[in-house]
Amino acid sequence: MAVSTSVLAGIIFGVGLLVSGMSNPAKVLGFLDVAGHWDPSLVLVMSGAVAVNFVAFAVARKRTVSFLGLDMKLRSSRHIDRRLVLGSVLFGVGWGIAGLCPGPALVVLGTAQPKAVVFFAAMLGGMGAFEWLEQRKAIRAENAARSVQTG
């Protein structure tokens, strides 16, 4: 059941991206180009989505299990640090170059355009690089802790 509602949510999300035009990189770049001929559409896309979710989160906050009886995984950090800001800046630079963020990247992947496949592969590469760097950091921290213990 949880899998079928996920597929359905994914398809509705994707149709929303298509209808809003946000799966079209050329349109997204039109929004990011504030100094040129600016297309404010993305502001309304986000407003519409936030309006619905504002209500949904108000409902979700009061629940300990979902309507399908699954545990609610909502907790998140409230900490604003360098990692959050610098990571988001890197993301923004990539977004500004291509006009693609992860959701639309998946939708355009479904058109099997070679450029969409290349972007998606590079994006997975970036996510993989993050996992690798995190793993290395964890190992180094562990080794440092061990050398403190033995030394």
């Binding site: 994914g10 509705i12 809003s20 990571g87 977004w95 355009q113 996510m127």
Partner: protein, 144 residues
């Protein structure tokens, strides 16, 4: 500021935004999960037991969308003007940046702002500013 009234599609934008909101609300209220796409993908790359199937299903649904739309005779209008080399760089930055920043346009921009998270507001302002600055440099400084 010079609004491009021919490109501006307010009704489609709002309708699409509502659909995105409904999809995120479904995942939240039925599955108890946040529809942050970079986080969903990140969890597939570093799988935890019993927490992968819904992620693959959600990502798969997004990939299926053009086929579903095509079935109804509405093949999407998608134009990627960026060259292959720049797409590789952009994809890598989007991948690593969204993981370090713990979210993207959906996780921070839609879900985070809906729950009034100051952290998500900081992330959204950061990636929006960087996006504006990058397009400014690409289009108006280098004139590409």
């Amino acid at each position: 500021m010079n609004i491009d009234w021919n490109a501006f599609t307010p009704w489609c934008a709002l309708a699409g935004g509502f659909l995105i909101g409904i999809a995120a609300a479904m995942l939240l209220l039925l599955n108890g999960r946040i529809a942050g796409i970079s986080g969903v993908l990140g969890g597939i790359l570093k799988p935890a037991k019993g927490d992968t199937a819904w992620r693959l299903a959600f990502a798969g649904g997004l990939v299926l969308t053009p086929m579903v739309a095509g079935h109804f005779g509405a093949w999407p209008d998608i134009r990627i003007d960026t060259g292959f080399g720049a797409l590789v760089a952009a994809g890598f930055l989007v991948g690593i940046g969204t993981r370090y920043g713990s979210g993207c346009t959906s996780g921070h921009g839609v879900c985070g702002l809906s729950r009034l998270s100051p952290r998500s507001l900081a992330a959204t302002l950061s990636f929006m500013s960087a996006g504006f600055a990058t397009v400014f440099v690409v289009r108006h400084v280098f004139g590409i």
